[in-house]
């Protein structure tokens, strides 16, 4: 377990925060950390920047993220990692399709390589790290295109050589079904699944024999095509398989 002093903490939107801290480890875009909030729990978080220490960007969902959002500059943050396979380098014209906090995982890649960014959220207040060039969608129409980010991507209809997708699994499945085959080989998806160990031994993040923490979190279109549970079924904390609620 490592720890470091928090250098910066920012509020980016409704219940969305970023924390920056010093780190000596090397990391690549797409990798994640296990952030430990002692006395509460340990949670996986994408590294949203790896220049000048590490940065994480998160939305407050429950106890762990709430406690993180209340931390102060100078407090200690505990973590292990980085873990997981990074995004491959882009080739040619590149697009990034993000849902909600999925943008955090794509941010280092966007900053390094540029390209077109499509970002969707439920409502305006949940959008963050915006840039005037981004294509924006909101479910309620409070900003940008009204609808989901896959609808937005398809409505613009531009053609790309490499596409990175990160967001809720249902949204990624939607992208896979409607745009995946057209782009095939050069589409990469970054998955989020319940994780306990983060190091590939407990099986809680597995999807059709692929461990999101060690074989992923980034998977190619071809790998995703081998996962019939993708966007359909998930595992609860006990390991029980269940249908994802809404489609």
């Amino acid at each position: 377990m490592n720890f470091s002093e928090i250098k910066e903490i920012n509020s980016l939107g409704r219940n969305i925060f970023s924390i920056r801290f010093n780190a000596l480890e090397e990391a690549m875009p797409g990798q994640f950390l296990m952030i430990w909030v002692p006395g509460i729990k340990e949670v996986p978080m994408s590294i949203s920047s790896m220049d000048n220490g590490f940065e994480i960007t998160f939305k407050v969902y429950g106890e762990a993220t709430k406690k993180l959002s209340e931390m102060n500059v100078g407090d200690r943050i505990f973590y292990r990692g980085p873990y997981g396979k990074p995004y491959p380098e882009p080739v040619g014209k590149t697009a990034y399709v993000a849902g909600g906090t999925g943008l955090a995982s794509l941010k280092p890649l966007i900053n390094k390589h540029g390209g077109d960014v499509y970002i969707g959220a439920r409502t305006k207040d949940e959008l963050f790290l915006l840039d005037s060039n981004f294509h924006i969608s909101t479910d309620d129409g409070s900003m940008g295109f009204q609808g989901n980010v896959v609808d937005l991507f398809l409505s613009i209809g531009k053609v790309y050589d490499t596409i990175y997708v990160c967001g809720p699994e249902i949204m990624m499945k939607n992208f896979y079904d409607r745009a995946g085959r057209k782009y095939g080989k050069n589409v990469y998806f970054s998955l989020e699944r319940l994780m306990k160990c983060g190091i590939g031994i407990c099986d809680s993040c597995s999807i059709n024999g692929f461990r999101v923490c060690r074989d992923g979190p980034v998977f190619s279109y071809d790998e995703i095509s081998m996962m019939d549970e993708f966007g359909v079924k998930r595992r609860t904390e006990s390991g029980k398989i269940e249908l994802m609620i809404k489609r």
Binding site: I199, I201, C202, D203, S206, E237, G239
Partner: protein, 300 residues
């Protein structure tokens, strides 16, 4: 290639390296992946009568000499487990690990496992960190004897009894488990660890099980003692991370081995690497089969 096939109880096993219970074996996809990676048999995560969420994170911590874990017997419960595994192929190479609090629960689970088409149960009499289960059951010789007799009476399953090293007299427990077809030795050692900067325990449950390279000498001693005293079939487990570790277990009497924490270091490739290493060793040392070295140092 020298044959590395072995036999445990009534079961012939082509590759003597198995996947240990609790590591990458909760989901059917992962079980199949280990079998395709060269595990002779894969043992499932321990399954109980009811669904259990397990402990909250952190559930594992990598330490200098291995790993601490307190997963807390997370499992979907026998109904959901069987529902998922009913359609799975290669059932003959899957051993189902079960845990319960008494002989009634154990024999109920064993019957369900048999009805679903499996042939081997591994009894978790040894998990060190859950109240009322595992090693708490496995420390009581009468209860152990009772559990095995019940399962023996009610099923035709091959019974593997996984014992805890966390007892003063392992031989006493082994004798109580004598009606099993094989012993599995050992489960993790009861242990803990501290993060000195947050001044917290490394595991949310505080107490957990110690596995990995650091426990190999303890596991070897357990195999040696129990083989010498009982001569029964033993599956050795604890700290195996390469083929030479496995050979040590064979020489002291193990008929097969299991690998758990080793997967953290070597990933799925560990099964093929160990299988090949065993075969090369036998050839170089001029043995004609694995059988020849099993218990070699004890028989002398």
């Amino acid at each position: 290639m020298v044959s590395i096939s072995t036999r445990v109880g009534k079961r012939k096993i082509e590759e003597p390296v198995m996947l240990a219970s609790g590591i990458l074996d909760e989901t059917s996809g992962s079980i199949l992946r280990s079998l395709e990676s060269g595990a002779g048999i894969s043992v499932t995560k321990s399954i109980g009568t009811e669904e259990r969420k397990g402990y909250s994170t952190p559930i594992v911590s990598v330490i200098k000499t291995g790993m601490l874990n307190a997963v807390g017997l997370a499992n979907p419960g026998i109904d959901a487990f069987l529902e998922e595994f009913t359609e799975v192929e290669k059932k003959d190479r899957i051993a189902v690990s079960i845990f319960g609090k008494d002989s009634e629960e154990f024999s109920y689970l064993a019957k369900r496992v048999e009805e679903a088409g499996f042939g081997i149960v591994e009894l978790n009499l040894s998990c060190p960190h859950v109240q009322g289960f595992g090693s708490e059951v496995g420390q009581d010789p009468e209860l152990v004897e009772d559990i095995i007799a019940e399962i023996r009476g009610k099923t035709n399953l091959q019974i593997w009894a996984k014992l805890t090293p966390n007892v003063t007299d392992l031989i006493e427990i082994a004798r109580a488990a004598e009606k099993a077809d094989a012993y599995v030795l050992i489960n993790t050692l009861k242990a803990t660890g501290v993060d000195i900067y947050s001044r917290n325990f490394l595991l949310s449950n505080k107490i957990g099980g110690y596995s990995g390279p650091g426990i190999k000498p303890v596991a070897l001693r357990a195999v040696y003692d129990v083989f010498r005293e009982t001569g029964k079939d033993i599956i050795g487990v604890g700290g195996i991370s390469d083929w030479s570790d496995a050979i040590e277990f064979f020489l002291l009497g193990a008929k097969a081995v299991q690998v758990g924490t080793g997967i953290y270091y070597e990933d799925y490739a560990i099964f093929r690497k160990i299988n090949e290493g065993i075969s090369n060793y036998l050839e170089q040392e001029k043995f004609s089969s694995l059988d020849e070295i099993i218990g070699l140092m004890v028989r002398k």
